[in-house]
């Protein structure tokens, strides 16, 4: 859980801009649910090209937050989609779903922390 995001890397990526961090986390919550759903739908439809596209997009989003595990997991699904071998896709997508929940929780905590620190400042 502690590794769901890399806070130092994330802040460096934003030049330490806390306001931008808030916006980015808001955007994550606005977008990632749909992106994950597209991955899950593609898996349940056995739609390999669709899985390739959806997992690629989700991978891009989570990689911005330094979520290594979720990024890796999305990459595995993307590769399955590209190669057309969906044997393990069901299990992998459940794993990704769990990692996305962890990432969401970590980002919510991070937002809370920075709201408080900027309120005090």
């Amino acid at each position: 859980m502690a590794n769901a995001i890399n806070e130092a890397e994330l802040l460096a990526r934003l030049e330490g801009d806390e306001e931008l961090l808030q916006e980015l986390i808001d955007a994550f919550f606005a977008e990632s649910g749909e992106s994950l759903q597209q991955v899950l739908d593609a898996v349940s439809r056995h739609d390999a090209p669709g899985l390739d596209r959806a997992a690629h997009k989700l991978k891009g989003t989570v990689s911005l937050f330094g979520g290594e595990e979720a990024t890796q997991s999305a990459l595995v699904l993307e590769t399955m989609g590209r190669t057309g071998n969906l044997d393990q896709a069901e299990a992998s997508s459940r794993q990704l779903q769990g990692l996305m929940e962890a990432l969401g929780k970590a980002l919510a905590e991070l937002r809370e922390k920075h709201v408080q620190s900027s309120d005090r400042g």
């Binding site: 460096a12 990526r13 934003l14 030049e15 801009d17 931008l20 916006e23 980015l24 955007a27 994550f28 606005a30 977008e31 990632s32 596209r53 690629h56 997009k57 991978k59 891009g60 989003t61 990689s63 911005l64 330094g66 990459l75």
Partner: protein, 315 residues
């Protein structure tokens, strides 16, 4: 301020790119698919810098780049291609398609900033070159004192109008106008006053013509005006209006208000047989008419005597 177009289907990535670029002083436009990116970049006033995601719905980044590069834009668009870290072999394809640089996701702010700055250097250099080219082009075709078309340019323009008339038909007239007794103004009041008179005459002539008429400085105190879609009688009306605009009100100069008049010679393309109609013959006809106007006492408008009195009109 430089404008940057961001095209990425990942809205979180767009937020990050847009947020950073705005902070660095760029004006940001955002689209989320390849078709919208192509549409924006094909506009004549497209952003000079573009950051394109490779994988997008509709058209991908490579297809957008190919479309942009095959279009005949005057200004170069500097394109940064976004790829993902594990997308190794495809990089060459991106550069070959016409990307100027690339950035791997997830990118660091420092790296993004450095690459965008590099792009801005190219874009600024390009803008300076286009500006210099336009200034040279203006200087080569315009008169310094009046900023009217210079002699070479107004004759070129007449040439173009004549060949257009050859293709599409229609009327075409020219007016030669010469300031009366200009040498006396120069001798009595000096060249600075003479220059001021030429500038004010220029201003009144320019105000008195239609937007699609062209006024040029043909010689020292001589002007050539090209009137597309104007027959001889319309030409006479226009020239008379121009004559009054100068003669009716003295010109204010450092030497006090000076009465200034112009003589006008008119010629129309319909007065010359098609086979011998060219800039030289038309100018010669207007010049003769101007000479007549001078001989008959100046400050007057004289149409050219028809060269082809015997020519059948209208076939």
């Amino acid at each position: 301020m430089s404008r940057v177009l961001i095209a990425d289907d990942d809205r979180v990535s767009c937020k990050l790119l847009g947020g950073l670029l705005k902070k660095w002083g760029y004006e940001v436009e955002v689209v989320h698919d390849g078709f919208a990116a192509r549409r924006e970049l094909m506009k004549p006033d497209a952003a000079p810098l573009a950051i394109l995601d490779w994988m997008m719905p509709g058209l991908d980044g490579i297809e957008v780049i190919k479309a942009v590069r095959s279009a005949a834009h005057e200004a170069y668009i500097y394109i940064l291609l976004l790829t993902s870290r594990d997308q190794k072999g495809d990089l060459l394809e991106g550069m070959d398609a016409g990307a100027d640089d690339y950035l791997k996701k997830p990118f660091d702010a420092d790296e993004l900033h450095a690459r965008v700055r590099a792009g801005k250097r190219i874009v600024d250099l390009q803008a300076a070159l286009i500006r210099a080219k336009n200034e040279l082009q203006f200087a080569a075709t315009h008169d310094t004192l009046t900023t009217l078309w210079n002699r070479g340019a107004i004759i070129d323009l007449l040439k173009k109008e004549l060949s257009r008339r050859k293709r599409t038909g229609g009327e075409l007239g020219i007016v030669m106008a010469d300031i009366d007794h200009f040498k006396k103004i120069n001798d009595l009041y000096g060249h600075l006053v003479g220059d001021a008179v030429i500038r004010e005459v220029t201003r009144r002539l320019s105000l008195g013509v239609r937007p699609y008429d062209a006024v040029g400085r043909y010689g020292g105190e001589e002007f050539l005006i090209v009137f597309p879609a104007c027959n001889l009688s319309a030409l006479a009306t226009s020239a008379e209006r121009l004559r009054c605009s100068v003669a009716d009100e003295p010109i204010e100069t450092n030497a006090g208000p000076l009465p200034v008049t112009l003589s006008f010679g008119l010629a129309s393309a319909e007065q010359i047989e098609a086979a011998s109609l060219n800039p030289e013959s038309l100018l010669g006809l207007a010049d003769e008419a101007l000479y007549t106007a001078k001989a008959l006492g100046r400050n007057r408008v004289e149409p050219a005597a028809a060269m082809l009195a015997s020519a059948p009109s209208g076939g």
